[in-house]
């Protein structure tokens, strides 16, 4: 089908068109032009891909002024379609009253959908730009608070992105 929407049958083509030469030349011209444009291929792992702020890498907990923002409301855990998140709340003398004494994300279950980030009323769990996840056992794949906490400095780009797209 041509761009005009008119159906062209083989019997309608001229000899010149039937030889395919003009189409081959068109294709080669495209290929050669691309060869001189800048390359997008990254030589991983020597070179690392730096994702945009919109990228959904592994979910992390935001740490602000030495404490997590999380109040252990459990909404991320409830909304998680893969049941990857387990939260256990406890009491803290801080103004927020409540904090997660345990916060675990099972990275084998996580599907990087970002619902946890979307539902969070405290902007305490966000998708980071980390995409390299390696573990050698099921147990290792369960990330606790030690692996999840990231400071606001480290997450600056993502938090800014979320603010702009609220």
């Amino acid at each position: 089908m041509g761009s005009t929407g008119k159906i062209i049958r083989k019997k309608d083509l001229s000899i010149w068109q039937k030889s395919y030469i003009p189409e081959i030349v068109k294709g080669l011209r495209q290929t050669i032009a691309e060869m001189f444009k800048p390359k997008f291929t990254i030589q991983y792992p020597e070179e690392r891909f730096k994702p945009q702020p919109s990228f959904r890498g592994r979910p992390v907990l935001v740490q602000e002024n030495e404490v997590e923002r999380c109040v252990a409301c459990g909404l991320c855990s409830r909304v998680c379609p893969a049941l990857a998140i387990e939260v256990q709340a406890s009491e803290t003398p801080l103004e927020k009253e409540r904090y997660p004494i345990k916060f675990e994300i099972n990275m084998v279950r996580c599907i990087f959908c970002g619902f946890c980030e979307e539902v969070c009323p405290e902007e305490a769990i966000v998708m980071s730009n980390e995409y390299e996840l390696v573990f050698s056992s099921q147990e290792e794949a369960v990330f606790g608070k030690d692996k999840l906490l990231k400071t606001t400095e480290e997450l600056k780009d993502r938090l800014e992105f979320l603010r702009q797209n609220r």
Binding site: V71, A72, G74, L75, S77, R78, K96, Q138
Partner: protein, 562 residues
């Protein structure tokens, strides 16, 4: 009778009723915060405003009497607009801390915000700040900011608990709920204000931040703290009981429950002292063994005594099914006449509202199923004397810690054989030669009869090794449904415990009897066929509300909105 019209439908109602009661009786819900069926009317939340023809203004349904010919509209435009206004005013100073609040998920203000509110706030100014984390008493926490001044807790303390210590101070938006100077909310029923509170202002100190309500499963059961047998919900997460809350039953406990029953009865289920498996005494020490070994040992040991040397002590802590099978096995299979049980009555421990002096949940049922000495047999004092004198040499004890009584504690070492069904490492279990780990009230099916003769169901809420949540029809939370072996949250601890009647059946059959019951329901069917007080009853018609002995009229269809 008065004829009234609500939303175009005509109803014949008692003229003594208020509009909200008449509507509730006929299945029409009028939203309300401050009104409660068991408390006096205060009419201060204004949520139940309805339109009544020929009245110039909207009227509150909770304090307006019905009258013949009255025409009520609960869903007209005026009513909806007024409700939205009430919600808007209530939410002006209500903090947006649902993520922190324990009430979230069972909060009336939350539910009504979805149903009756406009969904946004026009209020841009600062909210009024008030004291948070105030301890009203040993079991109740107060967050004044969340309070919507419905005064339910004040009326409950004044009218039901008879401890008038709560009051409002200040005026307008600055109203603060507080206790009078030098008093605290520490009556035996103080925790009922937690369920009464329509918001999260009053919360439990025990359950504080323990779990979100939607993460738990809820099972209908009864409290085993005394012979009242209050109806309860058992809330379980990760196979562990986190809280008990009262369940409405007009014939037993209304909407209430005592603090002791709520806080203490489930501790044994979660206890660190729980037995891991059956145990037998080898070379003077109790060691864990499998069920087959423990039962085989019990059978061979029991055979080596004369019938008159054996005695059985049943338990008013056990279910009707357990006690029935016990007395049957003792009298018909083992052949002893010495069967009785120990009463646990604490004089002066009872009160007028709920708490009974009899601290066992099933003493009437124990007698009804036939736990009494057979003709010429020994009763409990006779058994004790027999042990002391040496004429009783073997004793079989059901789920009762008889060694709490110093006379029994002194006499028990005289025995040659002591078989005990126990759930925790009790004093009696430490004397025993064979300990059979038994399921607690939260782990088995069964019935108990309260002091007034009401037969009520127990349902399993906590899984043991021999039960499976899904296969055995437990209430399940979302977590229970989807847990796999690889999930840390799915790995709950399960105890190797069995219902007493089942173990007794196994022992009896090994002794040559032919007992056929394989479920508690079948045992109860046999009880209902043989014993007049249980005539006509079965697990289905007992339902969630139970039935009175002798008159098996099920009242499970009762429904009243709180």
């Amino acid at each position: 009778m008065a004829k009234i019209t609500i939303n175009g439908k005509i109803f014949d109602v008692d003229p003594e009723l208020t509009v909200i009661q008449a509507a509730a009786q006929n299945g029409i819900e009028i939203p309300h915060f401050c009104w409660h069926p068991k408390l006096t009317v205060s009419g201060n939340c204004r949520m139940c405003l309805v339109e009544i023809e020929k009245m110039p203004k909207l009227a509150i349904a909770c304090s307006t009497r019905v009258a013949d010919g009255m025409i009520v509209k609960t869903e007209s435009d005026r009513v909806i607009k007024a409700r939205q206004a009430v919600m808007e005013f209530l939410l002006i100073n209500h903090p947006l801390d649902c993520p922190i609040c324990d009430e979230a998920g069972e909060c009336k203000l939350q539910d009504y915000s979805y149903k009756y509110s406009v969904g946004y706030s026009r209020f841009d100014e600062n909210k009024v700040h008030k004291p948070k984390r105030v301890r009203l008493g040993p079991n109740v926490m107060l967050d004044v900011e969340r309070c919507i001044m419905c005064s339910r807790c004040i009326r409950f303390s004044d009218e039901i608990a008879k401890q008038p210590v709560l009051t409002f101070t200040q005026r307008g938006t600055h109203v603060v709920l507080t206790t009078f100077p030098d008093t605290q909310l520490d009556n035996k029923y103080s925790m009922n204000v937690i369920e009464l509170c329509p918001v999260g202002a009053l919360t439990s100190t025990d359950f504080r931040f323990a779990s979100r309500v939607w993460e738990m499963s809820s099972t209908d059961s009864i409290c085993v703290g005394c012979s009242r047998g209050c109806n309860t919900h058992v809330w379980v997460r990760k196979n562990e009981i986190l809280r008990l809350t009262p369940r409405f039953n007009e014939a037993v406990n209304s909407y209430w429950m005592c603090d002791s029953g709520r806080l203490n009865t489930f501790r044994t289920v979660n206890s660190q002292e729980r037995l891991h498996s059956p145990m037998i005494r080898k070379d003077g020490v109790l060691v864990d063994v499998g069920w087959d070994e423990a039962i085989a040992r019990a059978v061979s040991d029991l055979k080596s005594f004369k019938k008159s040397e054996i005695a059985g002590i049943a338990s008013a802590f056990a279910t009707n099914e357990d006690n029935y099978v016990f007395q049957k096995v003792m009298k018909e299979v083992i052949g002893t006449k010495n069967v009785d049980y120990v009463q646990h009555v604490e004089d002066d421990a009872g009160d007028e509202l709920l708490i009974r002096a009899d601290k066992t949940p099933n003493s009437l049922g124990t007698r009804q199923v036939g736990v009494r000495p057979a003709e010429g047999g020994l009763d409990i004092t006779g058994i004790l004397k027999g042990i002391e004198e040496g004429s009783i040499r073997a004793l079989y004890v059901l789920e009762d810690d008889i060694a709490e009584d110093p006379r029994f504690a002194a006499a028990l070492p005289n025995l040659q054989l002591l078989i005990v069904h126990a759930s925790v490492n009790s004093k009696t279990a430490r004397f025993a030669d064979i300990v059979l780990s038994c399921s607690t009230f939260a782990e088995k099916n069964g019935t108990m009869t309260n002091f007034a003769g009401r037969v009520q169901r127990l349902r399993p809420a906590v899984a043991t090794l021999e039960q499976d949540r899904a296969k055995d029809g437990f209430a399940m939370s979302r977590w229970d449904k989807f847990a796999s072996q690889n999930d840390r949250w799915g790995r709950s601890v399960k105890k190797d415990a069995r219902p007493t009647w089942r173990v007794l059946t196994a022992i009896a059959n090994a002794l040559g009897a032919k007992l056929k019951c394989t479920t508690a329901e079948e045992v109860f069917k046999e009880i209902a066929e043989k014993l007049p007080p249980f005539k006509g009853m079965n697990y289905i018609n007992l339902g969630s509300q139970g039935a009175n002995a002798n008159a098996a009229e099920s009242v499970s269809k009762q429904k009243v909105t709180a």
